[in-house]
Symmetry: C2
Subunit: 331 residues, 2 copies
């Protein structure tokens, strides 16, 4: 049995879902993978807490923030395992996640991240730091969560050249467009998504296409070995669409989707986010509601499409756990 220390950064919806999942799956990880995960500490902006010997919910998480030793010191004092990064960071500065991830790598810890900010802010920076120290930086939780877009792109398409990527990468916008196809107007569809706890009260990062662009960027950089930046992406969201576009698409047998696309033209890679109406022959036509999907077009393997994966904090937590198992399991 291999003991692996975990440090969780962030105690929001994803962080809490991760603790719950870890508690539920701990015995399973011992049996199936021979890994005994130990939660050494949880940090949020107010400071850290050391859980008891058990896991959430037995542990005292929820009280005692600030009683754990300082984060950088803890990293140095115990056997390095994996830092799980769920604190939401600013996509321009990458902070506070960037500094905390750099500290983790510096102290010899692997990272599994659900936070996009630090990865988007400095493409290649953390990847290079991890490579230098022979550590793993896994970002499924930040790119498409339980939809295995990165695994397929990086591992299953190894040796193939990816000619094109086309994905529905944001569940909130896809739900809004699905509702609009059924006759709701944009405002009603957005409110409905908010009422169901899917769209946030400030939905701008989703509806402007920014979240789709972030995920497209992370997938493209990992899959194609590029170091493109957010500013390289042409972005059009679903706010400000002609009001009956989705309904009209539906009437002509099509469906309106917000796509993130990577295309190649004369050797150059182009990234864009834009809505488009597609017919039933399109591999992502049937991706409805909060579902996500992505199609990779390759030179040797044809088209490969991946659809599904729960869009929820639990789905993101499951993606984090998957990455952590991948980091630590014997090959």
């Amino acid at each position: 049995m291999k003991e692996v220390n975990l440090v969780l950064l962030g105690y929001g919806r994803v962080g809490r879902a991760f603790l719950e999942l870890l508690h539920e799956k701990r015995g399973d990880c011992r049996e199936r993978y021979g890994i005994d995960f130990r939660l050494a500490a949880v940090y949020r902006r107010e400071g850290g807490v050391v859980p008891g010997t058990g896991f959430y919910p037995e542990s005292k998480i929820g009280a005692g923030w600030g009683t754990a030793m300082e984060y950088p010191r803890l990293l140095r004092e115990i056997m390095p395992g994996t830092v799980i990064q769920c604190i939401v960071s600013d996509p321009e500065s990458g902070q506070p996640g960037l500094g905390m991830m750099q500290a983790a790598l510096e102290a010899g810890w692997h990272i599994a991240a659900a936070d996009k900010g630090p990865l988007v802010a400095g493409p290649g920076v953390l990847e290079e730091a991890a490579r230098r120290k022979n550590l793993k930086l896994k970002i499924s939780g930040a790119s498409a969560a339980a939809l295995p877009a990165l695994d397929v792109a990086v591992r299953s398409l190894a040796g193939a050249t990816i000619l094109r990527i086309e994905g529905i990468l944001n569940g909130t916008t896809n739900l809004i467009l699905t509702s609009m196809g059924e006759g709701m107007d944009y405002t009603a569809a957005l409110r409905d998504a908010q009422r169901r706890g899917i769209a946030e009260s400030d939905p701008s990062r989703d509806v402007t296409g920014m979240d789709t662009a972030f995920k497209l960027l992370l997938i493209c950089n990992a899959a194609c070995g590029t170091e493109l930046s957010f500013s390289d992406i042409e972005i059009q969201g679903i706010d400000g669409l002609p009001p009956d576009l989705a309904e009209q698409a539906k009437k002509s047998g099509k469906a309106l989707k917000l796509f993130g696309r990577m295309t190649r033209a004369e050797g150059a890679i182009r990234l864009e986010v834009a809505p488009a109406a597609v017919g039933p022959e399109h591999p992502l036509f049937a991706v409805r509601g909060t579902e996500k999907g992505v199609t990779f077009t390759t030179d040797t393997m044809g088209d490969i499409t991946v659809i599904g994966g729960r869009s929820s904090p639990r789905g993101a937590a499951a993606a984090l756990l998957k990455d952590i198992i991948d980091i630590h399991k014997a090959d």
Copy 2:
């Protein structure tokens, strides 16, 4: 640059496609993965041949069979790398592949296999031998080739429990059923698939559901840690279906497919192969012609569907190359 010796077993359609692909992708593998693949020898039943310093087509493959040193001796005399197993073996005895794969593991070689026979004949036998010697046995090429069914099941769903697997795993039967949905009778649809080089002259392994059962078995055993046997599967093929079943399905807006299914009932795993008509709400409804697809239902990640992957010797070769890169690339 890491030099890796390869030994290819088999020189049929997949073996030749693999040599072509390796020749085409060799420079790419050096650049992207830092691996320099060296083809040490190719064996078929008549004996082996050592290619020149180059690869197919520069090498002298096609002539000189029997001039290479004996297979087990070569395995011992050079630095172990990966043996690529493409010789078609008997699914009951597993031979001749089983013996050749055991010899490879014995001598410290990893294996990438496109041949199902040895894996189906003795579930767990080669897996256990590989584990004991800390070697890798990769079987994407034998299970669903370029469709990344195994990668997703084993890696992307790590930590999740797979509750159900449902797959269209055989391109030939799916093509026949697609044609029958458009009004062709079974015999005409089969002849058409044969004329197009997709169905073999003896199509029994496909149309009786046996090939689907083999792939289902390999996916289930790898994904769920079971050691089930071929005899555990209830199999119904598409030969002997009521003549207008596919057309009737189409008329009512459905599509007839041949499914391989794993279900769980009261803790027990059940495997079956059987045709079923499904409607547009089914995630594999749109899988047409020679395409394949598989849906995994999980406890934590929801449903994840993978569709596509070229069904051809080149697709199988690409799956072998992917597995070999996975074996040898630095993590």
